[in-house]
């Protein structure tokens, strides 16, 4: 079991980041949706505060994840993949990283343009990255929402592909990403 990736397996750090971030993002979808739809009240403001606080934390985590990704070997794709599938898999992964960055960044722009203050975890004041401007706010909201739907579409593809590998190709794409496999990391391919 290794913290780092090898060219055959995902290390513990990459796996932990993948699943931790995945859960957080699903949580963010729920929080964002709830915050937008809840009637105006102190709870609505708190949903937004948590949505934003966790969203900015996610941004930091994703940046770390990308740095880790670049500093590690990437396991080679399973041998059973069709020729056309590899660039598609690669492109979808790149796009997932792009939306994982663009989503919190666009949220940060909404937040700045709307000019609400935010103290992360009640401690650090989040700086503004855009001027207070209602028109910009509306545009950023549209971007944030559009990115959300792109994200959902990408995830359907992503999860669909993972399940396809597992149940149709019966390769180890999914299992080598699962935590249980870390004990036998770097081991045999199915």
């Amino acid at each position: 079991m290794s913290l780092r990736n090898s060219d055959q397996s995902w290390g513990t750090v990459a796996k932990t980041l993948h699943w931790f971030i995945a859960v957080m993002i699903l949580g963010m979808f729920v929080l964002g949706w709830a915050a937008v739809n809840y009637p105006m009240s102190p709870l609505k403001l708190r949903l937004f505060i948590w949505h934003k606080t966790l969203g900015i934390s996610l941004l930091a985590l994703v940046l770390f994840r990308i740095a880790w990704r670049l500093a590690n070997p990437t396991p080679v794709p399973p041998s059973g993949m069709r020729r056309w599938e590899r660039p598609l898999a690669r492109a979808s992964h790149v796009l997932l990283y792009v939306v994982m960055l663009a989503m919190p960044l666009s949220g940060w722009v909404i937040h700045s343009a709307a000019n609400f203050p935010l103290k992360l975890y009640g401690l650090v004041l989040l700086p503004s990255i855009a001027p207070a401007d209602k028109a910009l706010q509306t545009q950023a909201e549209l971007v944030h929402l559009t990115l959300f739907w792109i994200f959902v579409a990408l995830l359907l593809l992503h999860v669909g592909a993972a399940l396809h590998h597992h149940f149709v190709y019966r390769d180890d794409t999914l299992t080598r990403m699962l935590p249980a496999r870390s004990k036998a990391a770097g081991g045999t391919r199915a």
């Binding site: 102190p42 403001l45 004041l125």
Partner: protein
């Protein structure tokens, strides 16, 4: 016998003229600011009222004659956030459709220090009238003056933030009101 009489009247006349000319003040709106600092989740945000009128009669030597009458157009609320401003205009907050103005009328003024005074008056916000005491600083240079005052009000005293907001601290209960007026003496003719 005539000389002393004259010498007594002249300064009195001068004083009267001074009263008429120097005691009434107009607000230089370009430079003046009236608003408050409230807090959102513990972080302060500044809000100003873009429109207000003030009728001010004040002479530091004759505080007994002073009168401050200020009317604020609450709808002109501006916290540099369109969403928040709209929120503040709503029923639960300033309810500007029903209560378009906030008013302050002084009842007494007295001096408390070299440039410090105290203003008693009646403040009406959202239809709720309360007696308030406002310490202020007055700095005058002939026909120009600067008045500065700060005080802390409790928003719930004026029904600002009703329903859940009345008991929830996410929008802080204490609101720091600030007034900074740059004044020009009204010149007769």
């Amino acid at each position: 016998m005539r000389l002393p009489k004259q010498s007594a009247i002249l300064p009195l006349l001068a004083l009267c003229a001074g009263d008429l000319e120097g005691a009434q003040w107009n607000v230089d709106h370009e430079r003046s600011k009236l608003g408050f600092i409230a807090s959102y989740d513990g972080v302060g945000f500044e809000t100003v009222f873009r429109r207000f009128t003030a009728s001010i009669r004040f002479d530091a030597q004759h505080t007994g004659d002073a009168l401050f009458d200020v009317r604020v157009d609450v709808d002109s609320v501006d916290s540099n956030s369109a969403d928040r401003d709209d929120g503040m205009r709503g029923e639960e907050w300033f309810s500007t459709a029903r209560f378009p103005s906030a008013d302050f009328v002084s009842t007494a003024v007295r001096q408390t220090g070299a440039s410090m005074f105290q203003l008693d008056g009646r403040l009406t916000i959202k239809g709720v009238t309360r007696d308030v005491t406002l310490p202020f600083f007055w700095n005058q240079d002939r026909d120009r003056a600067r008045m500065q005052a700060n005080t802390v009000l409790r928003r719930t005293d004026y029904a600002i933030g009703t329903g859940e907001w009345a008991t929830d601290p996410i929008i802080g209960f204490d609101v720091e009101v600030f007034v900074e007026l740059h004044l020009l003496a009204e010149t007769s003719r």
